[in-house]
Symmetry: C2
Subunit: 211 residues, 2 copies
């Protein structure tokens, strides 16, 4: 696990080593987050990375593959985090707290990559459409499965798991979007207690008492 870092253009992604491949990825994710995949030229990526344009094509088949691999990295990280929460045995409240906390920490850990995810996921329908088979392939579908299991087990009243999941995620993700637009500042983690309270309220769970 990495230490927490903010805002600097393009930390994280792959290991923060000094290889040219990592330089390209860090430059690309920063530019993609800022301008969108179609708003960024391969030339600008190579310039930002400080390498030649041709080198991009030694490590990535084409621009779209580069953009998709970066998106997949954060998409999978978030999905697996929610699946990990789902596997915990301490009850629904614990699972929800786990997700809220780790969502914020993943966002803060590599804010550039996270920003790329929330702003441009829709550019990759194959990642986000997610009709989903046995394994959830998106954060949303993983959360739906978690809530469905809780409903089936009687831990919360039955309802539209997909809708409730979207509402609960929105309590965290829209503030994240507001942070992108400059309407909120500081790390997301600073607001974990507020997010927890909000998500608990939306799901109709009893707030755990203060300490």
């Amino acid at each position: 696990m990495s230490t927490i870092k903010y805002h600097e253009p393009g930390r994280g992604v792959s290991a923060v080593d000094g290889t040219n491949k990592a330089k390209i990825e860090r430059a690309a994710v920063w530019l993609f987050a800022e301008h969108g995949v179609d708003g960024v030229s391969t030339k600008s990526i190579s310039q930002q990375a400080g390498v030649s344009e041709g080198l991009l094509y030694r490590y990535f088949k084409n621009k779209d593959t580069l953009a998709r691999e970066l998106m997949r990295a954060i998409h999978i990280r978030l999905t697996e985090m929610i699946m990990a929460a789902s596997a915990r045995e301490e009850g629904l409240a614990d699972q929800v707290s786990f997700i809220v906390r780790h969502y914020c920490e993943i966002a803060d850990d590599d804010w550039t990559l996270f920003r790329y995810h929330i702003l441009h996921l829709h550019h990759f329908p194959a990642l986000s459409d997610a009709p989903a088979g046995e394994w959830p392939n998106s954060p949303h579908m993983a959360a739906v499965k978690l809530l469905q299991k809780a409903m089936d087990g009687g831990a919360m009243p039955k309802g539209d798991a997909s809708l409730l999941s979207a509402m609960a995620l929105g309590v965290v993700l829209h503030p994240a979007q507001a942070k992108v637009l400059g309407a909120i500042d500081g790390p997301l983690s600073a607001h974990i207690p507020a997010f927890e309270a909000g998500v608990f309220a939306v799901l109709g769970l009893k707030q755990k008492e203060e300490v």
Copy 2:
């Protein structure tokens, strides 16, 4: 006011008349929502609209102006709706219900334009940054002012109005995003009761009793 219509490529925007200008706007908003401003060529807009490429420049200075005018239309419509809610005198609960209901109805009324707004607002920093002066210039800032007034008047406990506003809006807007990605279907208006309950819960308001 117009009748409710769904999904068809590019209804709404300006009046749904048959003028070439309206044809261009409808084609553009559909393509911009689908592929982003930078992912759409002026040629493709003119083809989708069934006019020549040169005609675009009789009605709009350039591609970016066209994209910005369309975004401004929905951005202002949503902002003014929230300001209208703010002017109502029936109390905070009534204002919140008003906003939730009208947000859904505006989205359903011109889903293509609304989709363009939630997916690509960040492409226009000048519209979304909104440090805001006396008059709120974004839905978020309008909602913040409403909540701040409610807090000052003792209608709800004091807190971070900007954060709470983002959380509350997220209860409606993230499901809207989920609908864009195909994880939720049907008109947003179908979920108004659930959204109201969620927003009330996030804001710590008493749910009005069932009828």
